[in-house]
């Protein structure tokens, strides 16, 4: 699979804590890559470096062969990389519809002073995206009145509305009710597969990972300790013990 994003030798430490200690990681065209690992391992730092929020102290991030490490977030967004957040980042005083319309406006170029945000084409597109996420009945609800699960979905929907080529998601199912998790990821995966978008998602739910990831990278103390297809990685006794916290009864003594 041809890589669209290649991280090479990324290093970033906060004080003495090495969040990234020589990370090499590729994301293929149209691939879904899951990153798993204990809390504080540096998974979110990876997303922050890929989207320009943090600058790596060493290493390169190649987007289609071009180094984007250290570019400001808006330049990276313009290249087709979008992200969602572990804690939803919504415009809390706007309705869900307006949140999405703003994302569409940002993508299309918002600098027309005299045409309204809620113009016919954009409103329809926003409604279409909301339907995809099952949010259409919340269109006129203010973002600060949403429950945690809907807030999470709206946050991801805003990133999808930017029509990225690569979507980076930080714990997309955290805060979502267990009964809704799989449905949400299924919807999301369908939307992304239809448009051939690549995705990287940090995830703690192993069922979500095993069902939807094409490949799993295990991040621990700033290093990638395992990288491969979900069946193989999730069956590795070390990974099961260190990351997932399962002690296999029949593990070697």
């Amino acid at each position: 699979m041809k890589p669209i994003l290649q991280a090479q030798g990324l290093r970033l430490a906060f004080g003495g804590v090495k969040a990234a200690d020589g990370i090499d990681l590729d994301v293929g065209e149209g691939e879904f890559l899951a990153i798993i690992g204990p809390n504080g391992a540096g998974k979110t730092t990876f997303i922050n470096m890929c989207t320009g929020w943090l600058k790596p102290q060493a290493g390169r991030i190649l987007w289609r062969g071009q180094d984007i490490a250290g570019l400001p977030p808006r330049r990276i967004t313009a290249k087709g990389i979008a992200r969602s957040f572990q804690l939803p980042q919504l415009f809390t005083e706007h309705t869900v519809l307006r949140n999405l319309a703003l994302a569409i406006a940002a993508r299309e170029g918002a600098f027309s002073l005299l045409r309204p945000l809620l113009r016919p084409g954009w409103t329809e597109e926003a409604m279409e995206i909301m339907r995809g996420f099952g949010l259409e009945f919340l269109a006129d609800t203010r973002a600060d009145a949403l429950n945690e699960g809907s807030r999470k979905l709206a946050d991801i929907a805003m990133a999808v509305a930017l029509k990225p080529r690569l979507l980076l998601m930080d714990e997309p199912t955290s805060g979502v009710a267990a009964s809704e998790k799989l449905g949400i990821v299924e919807t999301l995966a369908r939307v992304l597969r239809e448009t051939g978008v690549s995705a990287v998602f940090v995830e703690h739910d192993m069922e979500v990972v095993s069902r939807f990831a094409d490949r799993v990278a295990v991040w621990s103390q700033g290093r990638i300790v395992a990288n491969g297809p979900p069946q193989a990685v999730l069956a590795d006794p070390d990974v099961r013990r260190e990351v997932i916290g399962i002690e296999d009864a029949h593990a070697a003594p």
Binding site: P73, R74, T77, A105, S112, L113, P116, L117, M158, L162
Partner: protein, 308 residues
Amino acid sequence: MTHRREALLALLFALAVLAAAFAAPWLRFVLTLALAKGIAALGVMLLLRAGQVSFGHAMFVAFAAYAVAFLAGRVGDALLLLPLAMLLTSLLGLVIGLFVARYREIFFGMLNLALSMVFYSLLEKFYSITHGTDGMRVPAVTWAGMATERVGGEWAVLVAALVLAIGFALLARLYLASPLGEALQGIKTREARLEFMGLPPRRVLLVAYVLSAAMAGTAGALIALTTRHVTPLMGYWTASGELVFIVILGGAGGVLGPFLGAVAYELVRVYAAASVADAWQLILGAVLLAVILFARGGLFSLLRGRRA
């Protein structure tokens, strides 16, 4: 509030202003000042949408007023002076905006205050050019080539102020409903998201800043044409505070708010100053306190019939 109700309110407001000016000739001057300050306050309101309070916008008012004072001798017609002053102030707003749009909240407020006080000192100290605290007289101007006597001149400025007020209110309304206007509120609530959507918050705020400078400039030009005398005090920090006061009094929930606030402010000031000369600021303070405690959305929200 529906478009129709707001348009109706605006129309009633305009008619009330004209009727009052007709019935009580001495009110023409007060109402012209109120409309001008309403335009400047409308600009301050745009920045407030982004959660940013400027304590220095009187600088743009004073800049435009002095521009009119300097240019009136050469460009003798008000219909040229007004757009010229507005354009020059917008340019100043662009230069200063490029700098201050990088800052937020207390830093934004204080930087605007500091810059306006620098400008105030320049006006005060360069006596040979600006006549210091004495100020400058504004020569008589023509309106569309017609010389006007005193009463005609007063009506001309009042009508110009009313037309410009309506024009800017409409512009602000369109702007606030446009993507950039809606994004202003995003600066207040979740600025980082704008950055990650590829919409640079600084540019979003800069557009609002230049618009607000243009409005303050228009106000300054109108005030200069009304009072026919400009002084550095027009740019003093209390004059900037007055604009913020007017927005809070009138309410930031709609474009009519600043104009309601400005008219209420000027009328309270005039009547209170006439009846209790030593305590008029006390009365203004009490009015502001009442608004903050009982009508957070200002006079506009009272008219709208529900609390914002």
